[in-house]
């Protein structure tokens, strides 16, 4: 019986397709606005998450404005450390160009190195690269100032050289100098190349090997979340108050402010209006249901004369309203999904939509529809059969 009434409701809706479509419109638009907003927001924030992950959000890179110059002062580490929001910072440079081939490694103990390179880095730069040490410790500012011949080995290089601990004072030959290995780096978040390198203090490297004419120095700064932009602005002045233009600072766009803009301004507005549109949609369904009861009072009377109970007639109107809401919700969902995909394709984003939205849209539609159908259902059950058959 319930299926029959549902079928009658469905037939009623499909016999008046244009009206059904217009009645659905409010629900369709409301659901579409809701789904599109959440869809575009979740797509955008997933994108933000991809582009501005925590690591990149807390990193500032520094480099010379023009190549062939070394604008970094000797006390770069200290100057950076004095800046508000900086956790660690320093300078590093690759030494491949000064003629240190990987084969320059000769283990004190056993094994031969291949494919290793040498990196010169200040203690601040090492710290800012967020290394994880398996053995020993990193060198400190004292070692840098004294120009100690100490080295950190990346895990890969250490393995090739057969060095697995630092307790027995292993040493490696870099160029023709003997360097004491004081630590082994297991992993490095910002400079993964370190795993295949030996890292030595910049001062030692300069003294032992000198600089090439086109030596490239880079600054690496680890900052607190939210400070990247400010540190980028201030660091060039802190390092070169005389020639701030000689340095370039690269900071990621601040993701938190971007996200706030999306969430607060646009989203809450569209959310609010989609709720309003949904309510209007419900009112439209309720209103057209009441009109339909008046307009179809003859049909209702015929059904009643054929033996339909009040509850069956009321049930049909509830079904019709619920079905209208459901179809409206699904149509809105479909349209919104297309919109989100279209936006994503246009921006080369990956469309991301929570599954709950896909479930919620038809559910919200059907619930609103049924609720909106209640007045019409009540009214449909009331009318007088014989009077309405005459009219």
């Amino acid at each position: 019986m319930l299926i029959d009434i549902a079928a009658e409701a469905f037939a009623s809706l499909t016999q008046r397709p244009l009206r059904t479509l217009l009645t659905m419109l409010g629900t369709t638009l409301g659901i579409a606005a809701f789904v599109a907003t959440t869809g575009i927001m979740s797509t955008a924030s997933a994108q933000i998450g991809r582009q501005f992950d925590r690591l990149k959000a807390t990193q500032v890179l520094l480099q010379a404005s023009s190549s062939g110059q070394d604008p970094f002062p000797v006390d770069t580490d200290a100057r950076l450390a004095n800046l508000h929001g900086v956790r660690a910072g320093g300078v590093y440079t690759a030494l491949d160009r000064v003629g240190l081939s990987p084969r320059a490694f000769i283990a004190f103990s056993s094994g031969t190195a291949s494919g290793g390179s040498v990196l010169a880095a200040t203690p601040g730069a090492v710290a800012a690269s967020l290394p994880r040490l398996a053995e020993g410790r990193a060198y400190d500012e004292g070692a840098q100032q004294r120009g100690d011949r100490v080295a950190l080995l990346g895990r890969v290089v250490a393995k090739q050289l057969g060095i697995d601990q630092v307790d027995n004072f292993p040493a490696v030959l870099i160029g023709d100098r003997l360097y004491l290995v004081i630590g082994i780096i297991d992993a490095d978040a910002r400079l993964p190349d370190i795993l295949t390198s030996a890292v030595i203090p910049v001062s030692s490297a300069m003294r032992d090997f000198g600089t090439a004419p086109d030596q490239q120095f880079q600054g690496l700064v680890d900052v607190r979340p939210g400070s990247a932009a400010q540190v980028a602005r201030e660091s060039v002045f802190a390092l070169r108050p005389d020639m701030p233009d000689s340095l370039q600072a690269l900071a990621p766009p601040d993701p938190s402010t971007f996200r706030n803009v999306v969430e607060n301004d646009v989203a809450s507005l569209v959310f609010a209006s989609s709720v309003v549109v949904l309510l209007i949609g419900a009112v439209v369904i309720a209103n057209s249901g009441l009109i339909a009861v008046i307009e179809r009072r003859h049909e209702i009377a015929v059904r009643r004369a054929l033996g339909a109970k009040r509850s069956q007639v009321a049930g049909q109107f509830l079904f019709e309203a619920g079905l209208t809401g459901l179809l409206g919700g699904m149509l809105g969902l479909g349209g919104a999904l297309l919109l989100v995909v279209a936006v994503s394709v246009a921006r080369e984003w990956t469309a991301t939509i929570s599954s709950w939205v896909v479930w919620a849209a038809p559910l919200v539609g059907v619930t609103l529809g049924v609720l909106a159908g209640v007045p019409a259902a009540f009214r449909s059950a009331r009318g007088d059969i014989s009077t309405n058959l005459r009219g």
Binding site: E8, H298, V302, R304, L306, A308
Partner: protein
């Protein structure tokens, strides 16, 4: 033929009681022009009787039919249907009676214009809770019965008036009701198109269907076993028509 139109035996019916018994039934309409559409009607209709109700416009014929068909409630008096006092019935019970036991044919057909002929007929069985396959089968049989076996999928608007009325007769008969109530079944039809409807009604009389037909059409009244004449909401004899009729001459109310 019998298969389609003869009423089903009904365990709810008290066979010892007359099918219809009205006692002092009144129906008044108040408003701008207060009317006594029914004014103390007392009458009995036995099973298998065929009754023509005649009378001037406004005499209360349709009002009588509405009360008989449980489409309307009397203001006073008692209406026993198969021995059961109807004022005590719930909406569900009244609806069940209409769905299974009472068939209606109206002057203006009252078909659903957007539904096929077959749908219009099977809808009557839906509210009698028949399963869909059975509904289709029985509706098809009923439409063949009224000579519309070729128009099952036509829309009502594509049919002539006479054909539409035959659809509505099929719809009224399909649940095999105990009583068939017709309000001017040929009132909207010219003599030519009403012919098929007349023949059909006559067959129903011969089949023993309990029939109450409101009509202005002497052609209809002629073959009914009994003619009731109404005036101002009361029953009276109509000497202009043949047949035997009863009166409520000794009106107790």
């Amino acid at each position: 033929m019998m298969l389609v139109s003869a009423p089903l035996p009904d365990p709810m019916f008290d066979a010892a009681q007359p099918l219809v018994r009205l006692e002092c039934v009144s129906r008044h309409f108040y408003g701008a022009a207060p009317t006594r559409a029914l004014d103390g009607v007392t009458m009995t209709i036995e099973r298998g009787e065929s009754v023509a109700v005649v009378g001037r416009s406004g005499s209360g014929k349709s009002s009588l039919l509405n009360v008989l068909g449980l489409l309307d409630r009397p203001d006073s008096g008692e209406y026993f249907l198969a021995g059961k006092e109807t004022s005590l019935l719930t909406d569900g019970q009244r609806s069940a009676w209409r769905a299974g036991r009472i068939g209606f044919v109206f002057q203006s057909f009252h078909l659903m214009p957007r539904r096929s002929v077959l749908d219009n007929v099977q809808l009557a069985l839906m509210y009698a809770r028949a399963p869909r396959e059975e509904r289709i089968a029985r509706a098809t049989a009923a439409l063949f019965r009224v000579g519309l076996g070729r128009k099952l999928n036509a829309m009502p608007t594509q049919l002539s008036g006479g054909e539409q009325q035959r659809v509505s007769i099929a719809r009224a008969l399909v649940a095999r009701p105990s009583i068939l109530l017709c309000d001017e079944p040929t009132g909207n039809l010219d003599s030519q198109t009403s012919e098929g409807v007349l023949r059909l009604l006559r067959e129903l009389v011969d089949d023993g269907v309990t029939l109450v037909v409101v009509t202005h059409d002497p052609g209809v009244a002629r073959f009914m076993r009994r003619v009731i004449s109404m005036r101002d909401g009361r029953l009276e004899n109509d000497p202009e028509l043949d047949g035997f009729w009863r009166t409520n001459a000794d009106r107790p109310c």
